[in-house]
């Protein structure tokens, strides 16, 4: 039986950059425990002699020639920006005062 605590969920939410309410934290911890129990079955057959598949196509790196092609103008690229200034995305402060 998987046991995902409220604190575990809070830590995962921090890693995933999502604030969660108390209500969401307690719901998710019980739901995740149930879901993880259901999906943990994969371990029954995942023996060491089976290679993993990350992708359905047998592709290696796909390269293209490095040539300039038409692309979005700055105005188009910024058209959905929540805030902008001087043709740049305007974002809240990233580093703290000490950094």
């Amino acid at each position: 039986m998987s046991n995902i605590s409220r604190d575990d969920v809070a830590n995962l939410a921090k890693l995933a950059r999502i604030n969660l309410s108390e209500d969401e934290l307690s719901h998710l911890s019980s739901e995740l425990s149930v879901i993880l129990d259901a999906v943990a079955r994969v371990q029954e057959v995942a023996s060491s002699d089976v290679p993993p598949t990350s992708h359905p196509l047998p592709l290696k790196n796909v390269f293209r020639d490095d040539v300039v092609r038409p692309s979005l103008s700055p105005d188009e690229a910024l058209s959905g920006a929540p805030a902008q200034e001087e043709q740049r995305f305007k974002v809240p402060q990233i580093l703290g005062e000490e950094q």
């Binding site: 995962l12 604030n19 809240p92 990233i94």
Partner: protein, 494 residues
Amino acid sequence: MINKSAAEMAAALTSGEISSVELTQQHLDRINQVDKDVHAFLHVDTEGALAQARDVDSKRKSGEKLSPLAGVPLALKDVLVQKGVPTTCGSKMLEGWRPPYDSTVVTRLKENGIVILGKTNMDEFAMGSSTENSAYGPTHNPWDLTRIPGGSGGGSSAALAAFEAPLAIGTDTGGSIRQPAAVTGTVGVKPTYGGVSRYGLVAFSSSLDQAGPCARTVLDAAYLHEAIGGYDRMDSTSINQPIPPVVAAAKDGNIKGMKIGVIKELQGDGYQAGVLKLFNQSLELLASLGAEIVEVSCKYFDYALAAYYLIAPSECSSNLARFDAMRYGIRVGEGSAEDVMNATRQLGFGREVKRRIILGTYALSSGYYDAYYGSAQKVRTLISRDFDSAFNHADVLVSPTAPTTAFKIGEKANDPIAMYLNDIATIPTNLAGIGGMSIPSGLAEEDGLPAGFQIMAPAMQDDRMYRVGAALESALLSKWGKPILENAPLLGAK
């Protein structure tokens, strides 16, 4: 004209019996009349559609050579970007966003003169099996408005079943084209992975996501498949080979001597009796048309659902990191960039999306990676091997598309595991990257609601599904005497 097939509409356009503007207007009128009850659309682009229709009409008048579907209207799932037209993915996160470019699917629709009526409702970021996870409210199944239309592409399938559009585009990560088709009595195809470009398809699980055609007939789906499919340099996972000849296969429909493999593991417990009965009747029809029915076993399919619910959440937790409140989409909260990110993602994402991001974050975290994500990737290998050996004994594989007919809205909303079980028969094809199709198999005797028959083919042999689908569709039509959707309630007749 709205209850005709897309091919019939195309013929009427070619003969001059109707113009694209008239045909488009008829569909806009129909949307106006019934969509308040069905809620298939999140956005109707009346002006854009009519402008596109006028353009096709004038090209036709000037004698320009047009594509087979030129002038026929279509409904587009709101997960594919269309320049200047709101694209929300059913999420609050993208409310009000107008993309600055066209997805390749949209580019090809426009090149083919296919008229885009608007954007259809879906589970948020395509995560769900009922369209109840849309931030903009659920879509209602035209067969019974109290029931779900499937998901995540419930808006596209409902639009077809309600005669709001003869064609639609869906995307299928674990069944989101095929299960909605099954529960609405329509046709849906997930092409081979890489068969249709993912450029401009908002990513959920990149190694599984695949756009494809939705329609009311197999031939219509084939025409749409050829219009949107094929290599695209903008998608590095796009397959650089010709599109399989799906229109020719759908027109031919000869299955004499074909071997059809019934997957033992995709029936029995958990499947509704009426759904299985229809499945078996369809098998008898296929046998009567000269196909040989064989049974195959895919013993690792029992692990497919578990593997999927690790792989898809893992990839989604990474893909959805792009919604960071910095470059597009909504932004809420005060303080540092990280505070704003945290607050925006709390408000912008719904319950199921948060659940999957947190699950994926867990499955990918150090200490758990090998046990969960790593094991799931190994199961993926085992499932592909199961398919490979099954295709040694059969040309196509078949199963019921979904274990049940449409359930009631709200019935499974609080039980994620019960909801996930809807996809039990559709998920294996996504994990292996092969093609899958759902066509209507009839109405289940318990509830009179439609069920789906699923056909799967090896990678890049999509034409085989169309051949078998067309054969079964035609045999069922002779048996029923009329298309299945003529049994659906008349909407908007008041």
